[in-house]
Every structure is written in C-alpha cells, then in structure tokens.
C-alpha cells in the first residue's frame, strides 16, 4: 500500500500538514535495500518540538554518516492526524521513506522530559508494534531509548529493550554495529541484549532483578547473567574531536527553535543543587573556539539560517567566550545572521560583553535567580547575589532595555513564606531601580515578568532525598505571592502544578510505574505535557488501581541510605558527594564552582585525562 497516495486523501484536513511529509532541505535519502540497519529516530512529541532539539540533529547526522545505516525521523502525530491515521488504517511511518515503523530494525526514542513517556506507548501502538518489550521477539523493532531521563528510566522498563545512558556520539555507533553483526549472524534477541550490556552506557533492564521491601522501597537490584552490577554512563572525552553535523535538516514549517546551533561545551562548573543537568553531564568539557566558529559557519552556509545560537548549560562560563563572540559577531553582521545567546548567567555579565551582545541582540533580558532570598539561593547553591542582579539590570536598563524576565522555582527545600515573598520583593525592587535611574529610556515604563515553576526533585542531585511540596502547599504559596504584589509593572506567571506532581512521580519512580503508565495510557493519557490534554484524575485512578500513591513517589522524604530505583546506574557523581551537598544545603552553605575548587564529586574518574583533573 502506498502511504503517499493515501495521505493525499486527508492531509489537507489536518492542521499543519507540513509536519507529516518530510522532504526538507538536508534530509537524507538512501536506498533501503542497500543498508544493513534501518534506524527510526523517534521524538515523542510534535514535529515542531522535536525538530528544535539539538541531540536529534547530532545523532541523525552521525547515524547517516555510516553507509550501512539509514536513520529517519519520526514524531508524534497530533491528535487530528492520529485520528485520520487510525480511521484510514495508516501506520506511523518514517518521514524520509514513508515506510512503516515496523519495517525498521531499531526504533530509538529520546527521553527529554518525563511527561513525554506516554507518547512512546502511543507511537508504538500507532505503528502496530506491541508496546511490551517481552512480547516483541527477534531482533526486528528493537526499542531503545536515550536522553537525559535515562538516568532513571525505571518507569519505562516494561516497554523499552535497551537504554543508552549518557552521551551517545560514540557508544550508539558501537551498539548499532553490534546490532548489524547480530543481524548478519542471526543472533537471538537475548544474545544481542546480553552482549550489548557489556558496552559502556548500555543498560538492558531485563537483565536486572529488582526486589522491594515491605514499605515499597527498593530492597535490592541484582544483575543477571553477565550484565555488569553497575552501568556507567557513556561520555565523550574530547568535545572538539567528536562528531558534529555539518548541516541540519531545515524545516519548512515554523518550529520552536529554527536556527543554527553550536554547542560550546558540555557539563557545567556550577553545581546548582536543583539542576539535574548540572550533575549528570559532569565534568565540564569545552570545545575549542576555532572549532566552534567553523562549525557555526558551516551550519549557516548549509542551512541558510538567519539565526545562530550558542548552546550550553551556562554559556558565559565558557572560557573562550570573548574570542568566540568577537569572531561570530563579525561573521553574523557580515552575513545578516542574528546571534542569540540564551542562558547567560548574570554574575559575569560584564559591560563589555553586554556592549558586544547588544549590537546583535534585540530581544529582552532574562535572568534566572531561581530563588528570592539570599538564604534560599545559598541552599540551592545558586551563587548570585542581589547586587549581581541589580548591577546587570542597571547596565541593561541604561543600555535601553525596558523589560526583564525573571525565572524562579517554588517549593525548594527549606522554603518558607518569607522566601516566596522575597521573589516578589526582588521584582518590586527592580521596578524601583528602573524608576530611579537617570539615564533610562525616557517616557517608557518597565515591565518585570516573574515566572515561577514548581520544583521537581530529580535523581543524581543533592535534592534526590527531598519530598516535593504537596499540591496544596504549592497552590497556597502561589496565591500568597499573587496577593503580595503591589506594583502594576510586575506580571506574575505560574504554572498549573499538577503536571509537576506527575513529573516528580516519574522522575524518581521505580519499575512498578510501568503498569501505571500502561493503564493511564489506556485511559487516554498521552501528550501529557500539553495542558489541554493532561488528565490528572486518570493518572490518580491508574496509580490507585496499582496500589501506588503520589505521596510515596513525590512527597515522601527519603532516608539517607535508601536504595534508589537508579542505584545501579553510575553517572560519575558519587552518592557520598551528593549527600555532602544535601547536608550543606540544609545548613545554607554554598559550594565553590569547579574552577575555584574541586569538591571531589567523582566525575573526574570518567575522564581518561592524566591525573584525572577536570578543569584545565
């Protein structure tokens, strides 16, 4: 059956048909009969979200750089399209070949956020592939998953055959080559899985047996057969030498981020205690500025993009930032490309740098103090003072900016009502600062946006022991803050926290949640990260049917020494270090960043570099 002809019958009746047809510049076409491995890279969200994601671009280019492999892209169809597909009996297909997913060897999902998990089930189902790993026999349709959430993939173990922990640029190829060999030599699935478990970063959940204590906590995790007792994440040793794509697929339709991206470094020196990325990508590895410039230019030339952005967890910590900006700004002005710089930390936001940045940047300013009081910022180890924030704002206002966006988190460990009020106080003081400034833009008033999200404790952070505020407490805090605002210049934005509750359940969840996920999906839960499609009640029902509670996973304070569902996974940072950080947090004591002083987190052991030093 030719899917293309069938699509003609209804594609014009769905929203944004461009999502479903591929054909974009730089998308890659091969002859299916001439490759050994067909890889479907699945992003469990819409085309617009998935096409904005850097990791997918890197791995798409990497896999296709191998002659024997053809990697195609697959996204979750929006509900109108899904309905049409089900009505017309059309299976989910790869955007390049239009071949059905069940024709692919490896089906790889990327796990970027917990609330996309149910889309994996739905996408498998829409492909006519059994959602349960144990029911899928043979090598065909092997389901694998990578991305940051694999640091605790336990809630997905019933559905996924293999998880790839850490950075995939090297071990994914090793894995695909093993698969190729297995296919050529007709291995059983069991043999492939066991062999694969010997590759660094490859976690085969079916090779681990988990037992539970009576109170529901994990008792023991035992490796079976020849699988390693702990699975260590994969890591790239030298960022300047690792694969980076020369081009990106250029979407026709508007996506969330539609621009050239250079990744300046991986890892972060800061150690903000709430930030999972800050721990699981340790240690810091920078790319050489010359490599970055040439990668950036190559991308602009091959895509025709009008914007380029620098990506990392904390770009202003990049030691070559001045050199890089100097050269890239010249290039971008000359070639009519806008340079955008997200996530700039403000404590080293110098006047000089701002001056340069201002030449190319027209959008507003965003800061992420994360907490409103100094005590609270010390607890989370966000080393920014009020003075830092004010001086950055002052420079910005004097430079013509009139709006500031501030990001905060609510529900942090040890937080009191005063800390919540502190957020609003900070915003009011910024309004005051603007009003008293002599050289601000005349006749214009300031706008301070306060955006507050609900804190979700994550594995591999010092807050992994902390019980999330319950819904009632969060809502009380949100309302209080709203009432506490006096200035009209402040816009207060907060998010429905029910999604954060579910996120917290999955983030630190165990294997028993697979059943919950299956039940919830059967009840119609997917696209959970889209508010209009989030059904909290159904999730509560599913949990109850499985005899599990939100309280156990999200709100319960965990004991030091408790075996976590992810205790057999090793991301380099030691539990002893995390425990030290947790204790320091409770005492509002900060920890210096990795450049100032090494705190002995253990991640240095991941590097082959001599002496195991992280920061040059």
């Amino acid at each position: 059956m030719n899917i293309k002809k069938q699509l003609d019958e209804f594609l014009l009746e769905v929203q944004k048909p461009g999502r479903y047809v591929g054909g974009e510049v730089n998308s890659i076409y091969k002859n299916a009969n001439e490759v050994d491995v067909r890889f479907a890279f699945c992003f469990p969200d819409t085309y617009e979200v998935g096409m904005s994601h850097l990791g997918m671009k890197i791995l798409y280019g990497l896999l296709n750089s191998k002659d024997y492999c053809w990697c195609e892209r697959v996204f979750a169809p929006w509900m109108d399209m899904e309905q049409k597909m089900r009505e017309n009996n059309i299976k989910l297909y790869g955007l390049e070949s239009f071949d059905e997913l069940c024709d692919f060897d490896i089906i790889g999902f990327t796990l970027q956020y917990e609330l996309s998990y149910t889309n994996i089930l739905n996408m498998l189902d829409l492909s006519g592939i059994d959602v349960f790993a144990k029911n899928r026999e043979g090598l065909k349709n092997l389901v694998i998953a990578g991305g940051p959430c694999t640091c605790n993939p336990e809630p997905l173990v019933d559905f996924v055959d293999v998880f790839m922990l850490g950075e995939g640029e090297e071990n994914l190829i090793e894995f695909v080559e093993l698969y190729r060999k297995a296919k050529q030599e007709n291995w059983s699935k069991e043999k492939l899985l066991e062999e694969a478990s010997h590759i660094q970063g490859v976690y085969v959940p079916s090779l681990y047996d988990v037992s539970y204590n009576e109170d529901g906590t994990v008792k023991e995790i035992k490796a079976l057969k020849s699988a390693p007792q702990t699975v260590k994440k994969a890591i790239i040793q030298d960022m300047s030498k690792t694969y980076y794509p020369k081009d990106f697929v250029v979407p026709y339709i508007d996506t969330v981020h539609d621009r050239a991206i250079v990744e300046v470094m991986r890892g972060c020196i800061r150690g903000c205690r709430f930030c999972q990325a800050g721990f699981i990508y340790r240690p810091l590895r920078e790319k050489n500025p010359d490599v970055l410039c040439s990668q950036g230019k190559s991308l602009c030339e091959t895509t025709g993009y009008e914007e380029i952005s620098l990506s990392s967890l904390s770009t202003s910590d990049y030691s070559g930032i001045a050199d890089l900006l100097d050269e890239l700004i010249d290039y971008s002005v000359e070639n009519k490309v806008n340079l955008s710089l997200p996530s700039l930390r403000i404590d080293n936001f110098s006047e000089d740098l701002l001056e340069k940045v201002k030449k190319v940047r027209k959008t507003g300013l965003t800061f992420a103090p994360e907490a409103g009081t100094q005590r609270m910022r010390d607890v989370i180890n966000k080393n920014i003072t009020k003075e830092d924030i004010f001086s950055s704002c002052k420079i910005a206002f004097e430079g013509g900016y009139t709006s500031v966006k501030l990001y905060f988190m609510l529900g942090l460990p040890t937080e009191t009502m005063e800390d919540c009020e502190g957020i609003i106080d900070l915003a009011q003081e910024i309004v005051g600062l603007y009003n008293h400034l002599e050289n601000r833009v005349k006749g214009k008033s300031v706008n301070v946006t306060v955006s507050v999200s609900t804190f979700v404790p994550k594995p591999f952070t010092p807050f992994q022991w902390f019980g999330q505020d319950d819904l009632e407490t969060i809502i009380k805090k949100q309302y209080h803050m709203k009432d506490y605002i006096t200035s009209k210049k402040i816009s207060f934005k907060y998010h429905a926290s029910k999604t954060s509750v579910l996120e917290a359940v999955f983030a630190r969840g165990d294997r028993r949640l697979s059943q919950v996920m299956y039940k919830a999906w059967k009840k119609g839960c997917y696209f959970d990260s889209w508010d209009e499609h989030f059904y909290f009640d159904k999730w509560l029902e599913a949990l109850e049917e499985c005899g599990l509670t939100v309280e156990f996973y999200a709100n319960r304070h965990r004991e030091i020494g408790e075996v976590f569902p992810w205790s057999h996974l090793d991301y380099g940072v030691s539990e002893a270090f995390l425990r030290r950080e947790w204790e320091k947090a409770l005492n509002s004591t900060t920890t210096p960043n990795c450049r100032e002083q090494c705190s002995g987190c253990g991640a240095n052991k991941l590097l082959e570099r001599k002496g195991g030093k992280c920061v040059e």
């Binding site: 014009l12 048909p17 461009g18 047809v21 591929g22 054909g23 026709y252 030339e301 025709g304």
Partner: protein, 236 residues
C-alpha cells in the same frame, strides 16, 4: 569640496544603482510533498535557499532588513504547480543559467527552478490560470456524469469569503472546462479559471460539487499548468 564626500561605497549611491537593476523573475515548480507547504513557509524556504545558493539578493533597507521578494500568484495549500513566479531584485548582474543551477542545488527536491529571466510583465496583468484537476474516485463514469451535469447549470453560486464577510458569487463565467480525460485513479479535467486580482480557485468549484451532489471523491488533485495575461498570452 572635500574628498570626504567621495565614497564609492556610499550606500545612497549604491541604492540608486540597485534601484536601476531590473527585477528578475524566477519560474519554478512546486510538486510532490511540497504541495503541503503553505505559501508563507515557501517564502521562508526560498529566502534560505537563495542564501544557501549565495545569490546576491537585494535586502530592503531600514530597521528590519529582509529580502525583497514578491510572488505573482500565490498558490493555495495542497496545489501543485509547474509555473510559479517569484520576483527578486539583485545587487549585481548574474548569469541566469548559473543562478538556476546554484538555486536548484540549494532547494528542496520538490521545488525546481525551470527558468530565470528579466521581469517582462507586471503581476497585475495576470488574468487566467490553467489547471489540471483530478477527481480521485472509483465510480468514474457516474462521477463524470454528475460533474458534467453540475457544470452545465446556468449559474453556479458559491459563497465566497471576503474581508467584510461572505458574499454569493456566480463562478460559472469564471471557469472554462477545456478537456476531460479518464485516468487511472479518476477523472482529470483541464480547466481555465479567472486569476489575479479576482481569483477563482478550481477547488471552489469542486468542493461545491462534492457538497451539492453528495459524491464520493477520495481526493482532489490540482496542478497549475500555466498562467495567462489579459491579452491571452502566457505570463512572463
């Protein structure tokens, strides 16, 4: 006079020169998967392709410079075409044959430049467009009979959406059926419709047909074949 004023790269001087550069018209076809791409998205795709190809396109001046680019007769979503026209202004003389090659290398595979030339006629001269309209169906004979019946009415009133609301319009005089062919997947009608300032898309007719006669059409495939001017000549 001080020689400070003498500057060969003076932008005003440059702009005057560029203003004298004639507009260039690029004819391209848009088929296959690209038919699902909206006009707005095609515009962005063209800008990026021109940039990739390194064509010296003139940018409008001012606060937010952008490529100067106009489309003679924007194509509706879902239509394919062999004769799309895009007008550009260049900042220097180029070889059109080479420009065509460079651009085709840079474009997605479903958009192909067929011809580049100097702009001869203003888009305002456009009066008619020729389409091949395929009604995909199983029961070809019956559908053809119903369609012939439908178009032979004295008047065909459609409700056209305008900026001020909706208004009834008789499209019978705006559509001329030129040929009918039975093809593998259905019936193909070749028709000429009014185009340009007043624009009558063939789907106005076919959608109304499907609705009024209650026929089972699986899909309506539309290919624009040619654009004509008010004097009957091909638009170039």
């Amino acid at each position: 006079m001080s020689n400070q004023n003498f500057n060969p790269n003076n932008t005003a001087e440059n702009n005057r020169k560029i203003a004298l550069m004639p507009n260039v018209r690029v004819f391209y076809s848009k088929t296959g998967r690209a038919k699902y791409i909206s006009h707005l998205d095609i515009t962005r795709c063209m800008q990026r392709s021109l940039k990739r190809a390194g064509i010296p396109v003139w940018y409008t001046q001012g606060f937010n410079p952008h490529m100067y680019m106009t489309f003679a007769l924007p194509l509706a979503l879902g239509y394919e075409s062999e004769c799309e026209a895009m007008d550009l202004r260049l900042t220097e003389k180029v070889d059109f044959e080479k420009m065509k090659e460079d651009l085709n290398r840079a474009l997605p595979k479903d958009i192909v430049v067929n011809k580049i030339m100097l702009q001869n006629n203003k888009p305002q001269t456009i009066a008619k467009a020729l389409y091949e309209v395929t009604l995909v169906c199983d029961d070809k004979e019956n559908v053809a009979k119903l369609f012939d019946e439908f178009v032979s009415q004295d008047e065909i009133i459609v409700i056209k959406k305008t900026k001020k609301g909706t208004k009834p319009m008789d499209i019978k005089p705006e559509v001329e059926i030129i040929a009918k062919d039975f093809v593998e997947n259905g019936i193909k009608y070749t028709m000429k419709t009014t185009a340009g300032q007043k624009n009558v898309n063939p789907t106005l007719l076919t959608d109304l047909f499907v609705e009024k006669m209650n026929v089972d059409i699986k899909a309506t495939l539309i290919l624009r074949k040619q654009i004509y001017m008010d004097n009957g000549e091909i638009f170039e």
